[in-house]
Homo-oligomer: 238 residues x 6
């Protein structure tokens, strides 16, 4: 039995609230159960220097966690003077994942930055961030399109969402919360498109190496979760 | 006339929402018009090393701004690798102000950290932070009292709130928003107790030095604003 | 009684020695009793990039303390790898204060940097720094004028000086030394022009909040001190 | 056709030279074709503070690249003042992977640090690092065992190796070199045990999302590659 | 002919003013012509952790330059966030040199830190620093002896001074000033004891390698300069 | 007797292996007994900004040590976030020494960077680095010459090598290894040209100041060692 009483293939309650940041070109407050991430999308018409005059746009992401998003207060990274390895790994994942569904030529020489700040952390902050960032990204692209600033018709090739799965007490389960994540012997994050193709898979054996059969069952759960998230994204963006 | 259409002595709409952070011992989402700050209070039973075995507690604060709290995206301080001088100045002000109403002996050897993270910035982020931080602090003290962890009866000697005033187009006005703040030739922040005594005054001439009479009129406005904030704090904490 | 035996409204011995740094365009060794600050003014004909081509000049300041300016050796900030929050707060104050008396259009596209390095610290290092920096600034402006590098007749709109006051053992006193500062329950810094207008007021209750009447009496003392400093500045610059 | 003329399922020439670092408790110079990594294992009998008195050991890794391991000189991270996000991500992966085959109770309160320094980089530096680090780790464990410093019989539960696969010009291929890696539209790293179980999978779509069938074919290649590496590791350690 | 009109073997005017820093246990304002260094010696009864319980003391040094010690303003190292390689090299030299004349056993478990801050730089700042630091060190040792805090009779085994020499327009000259130093094709620093033995020699060919005969002639000049400095140190310390 | 059984004037076995780094324009694996340094030379056709459009080239060096080059693991400088003072001192020495034999006009506006990474450290890492860096530098210059990218015929004015000497148990000895270096009371590094002129001398008394006679005997040993190294360099470069 899962600590939350959920079924093995049951996601937490998910909500996607658009437009929470009045100054940003796109934004989304995303919750996966007790995990809450505040995402903003910023459009800039300047690119990093290495990307200029390429005819291509750029999408990047930054991630942070408020100090008291966690049960114990976490040290503020700005005060510590650097971002942790974990933070950098997550923000690289978010940026890379989003770029996989963007047609950079169609985007034109614009940059979109997704800032994902975790207000509450209860497991799955990176998957919630990606899922919410896609929504904010759509609004940022629409903002550009409305001003005629894009260079082609289909800036976004597909939708994008992410979910984690893991083997908890021997059972493959969908959408790990913090309690499950701490104890799971395998933990995998899946980033997938709305059409069901993979953009990123990261599977990690915490203690016990996993078999191909176990990975297959996690993939099955992930597909189910991504389908549900895709429906919610479409509803939020309608 | 003020850009917002407010009267000279009229504050923006203020709200104080307690308990927004489920994991923190105290929290408050404070809004002053378009300024929104998410404040958490963290209780720790360990002190910084220089304070240990003194029989006294400690209260400190940290301040940050989400990158897109502002019209233009601000660089994330964790990515920049340091807190700006402005950030440090503000967090030092918040901590110092709160300490002025705390009886450190009664608090006992506990530390309370106030984290003030600005979600939206439209002027007055430091005064909103202090006003909201007081509310979160009260809850953190109550949390300690409920567990018998304090060492005396009146940990908080008085309530505390803050407001800015300034001279905008020649007229002293209360609670500057961003548009006014950018243009005001004098800008002053007042931190006061519920009983109307001063904890901190910071007055700055941006362009034109100000007279004692002008300062007096700003003080009068500040007293009015603090009274209103004190009433709202009492209501929020009831 | 004050530890130094001074009257409540009596300043420490103040001296302003011009031209101590032979390479700088302006300089001043300023002493307020046991506090000694070495100030240099550097003229540069290049501006920070954000200020270029604006037709306006810029004035900025940096502050530092030699490690053994204090009773206990203080860690060297260059070795620590960063300036403390206190240092940044002080240097921001010095720069902001000086800018309030400078006509940036008349200054033209020149930058003047005031470096204030404390050789000995006995309270009031920021007020001594501002008072001495004004003297060095005048010499730097004269240096520019002598070379025809300014763009208007009255680069400096007024003179500028600063002094601290505080409530020491219940009595408002002028120009706190270190012993008084450590114990005072209210401490206020006043930056004022030669004509008696305010450029900056920073009042802080260390323990006990202060009343408007107390603030008024501190302002009265400050006006007296600033008058005396203005006379000394005029003499030094004659 | 692959740039190197290899078959789709053909690895580059791999060598594992043990004992290259005379001062280290374990070491291995590993080459995967034109990729060469110098790995040392350091045994320390002290643990990081958070791990002390737990009865458990610890295994960690650090990764670096000599500036001229690449075609263009890369900036030295020590001179830049920080490790890049990529470096941190890789060293976290190496450490996490190795820990998955270590019985921390049997290891006892000892720490083993694997330093992986890339002398030449031609794709697959992280997989070569893991494969060589396992060899160095075995020698470090033997060093501890020879001195009676371990606490149980089977410190290492299984062997460990890693290989990358990718889809290059539409064809799944094994062990990408730099030319292939730059162009591949999907790139996956597999860390597996000698018994064929997964410790880590990281699959990334660089441009085109991949299907489950494609991932399956990459897994098949990886299993083949890991088998070959396991044979070489056994030979090197005999 | 030298720019200053000095003879080849003529030092600049040297002065050693003791006791300039009222709070320090030792201090010296040293001038070598237009070079002026403010040196303080701080006694602490705690040692760095790696030196504790060894029965031995420690002497160390830090070096800094006020921003406007030079013709062009130099960036403040505290603001830059690190000490330059040059600064570190100089402060390591000063500390190492002083340690060579200290009997660490006789010093006992005390630490003396020499802070050398350059007020004006006109060549030879490191040699002036060492020469002045020896004077401050003597006073610090006397301070310890007066309190019975040393552990043996002869803490200082000899006196110590330093001077630079160089080959300027083909002629070996003593005590280079900045103009000479910029142009000299060989530059050498000598740190010697009062008895005429060498503690440190650093000779550098800026453009043209030098011969053993040239080095010999520089050594001869150095001995002459050190003798003169030793006489001045004795007088200052009498 | 020396720990290694060598004669007082006997160097360790030295080898210079050219071309070890296939991607670099020059490289050399240099060993002095148990000291092994991997040196690469990188040619870039861009110069640091302060050197551009001067018609002159530039040569610089960076130095690092793999963590387990030493008996005890040394902390990785990239992880520590800065290069130590020792590292900076050494890399400044290497760069300065090499520049002394380069005709910058003949080199033309090209930059050559020498990276010296110590794989094993047994004393003399800086002298081995210089000796090997000269070999790599020659190959980099030849690379430029072969492409017609130099501006004059004799880019290198002479060859360059370095060796350490010291007084070990009262006897002057050549080429100190780590055991000798730890105990020697005087330690000197000599950088000399093939023609026997000095480029850099750094002599340090670790405990006991040294006499001019002792320095002379060290110089004699150094000349002998440099002669031997020059022969080996010629052979390697033939």
């Amino acid at each position: 039995m899962r600590p939350s009483g959920r079924q093995a293939d049951e996601m937490r309650a998910v909500s996607l609230e658009r437009g929470v940041a009045p100054k940003a070109e796109g934004s989304c407050l995303v919750t996966f159960g007790g995990t809450k991430v505040y995402v903003t999308a910023t459009v800039e018409t300047t690119l990093p220097s290495w990307r200029r005059n390429s005819g291509l746009g750029w999408v990047t992401a930054e991630y942070g966690m408020l100090p008291r998003a966690t049960d114990q207060r976490t040290r503020r990274e700005a005060a510590a003077g650097k971002q942790s390895g974990r933070t950098q790994e997550i923000q690289r994942l978010i940026g890379r994942s989003l770029r996989a569904v963007v047609d950079m030529q169609a985007l034109g020489e614009n940059q979109i930055t997704l800032d994902c700040d975790v207000l509450e952390a209860d497991g799955g902050t990176r998957t919630a961030s990606i899922t919410g960032a896609y929504v904010a990204l759509v609004d940022a692209v629409r903002w550009l399109e409305a001003r005629g600033l894009t260079k082609g018709p289909h800036v976004l090739r597909d939708s994008l969402a992410a979910v984690s799965c893991g083997i908890y007490r021997g059972v493959p389960v969908l959408d790990l919360d913090y309690l499950e994540d701490s104890e799971a012997h395998t933990d995998a994050n899946f980033v997938m498109t709305g059409e069901g193709r993979f953009v990123e898979i990261q599977g990690t054996a915490e203690q016990v190496p996993f078999s191909r059969a176990e990975l297959d069952s996690l993939m099955g759960l992930a597909e189910k979760g991504i389908n549900a998230l895709t429906v919610l994204q479409k509803a939020a963006l309608a």
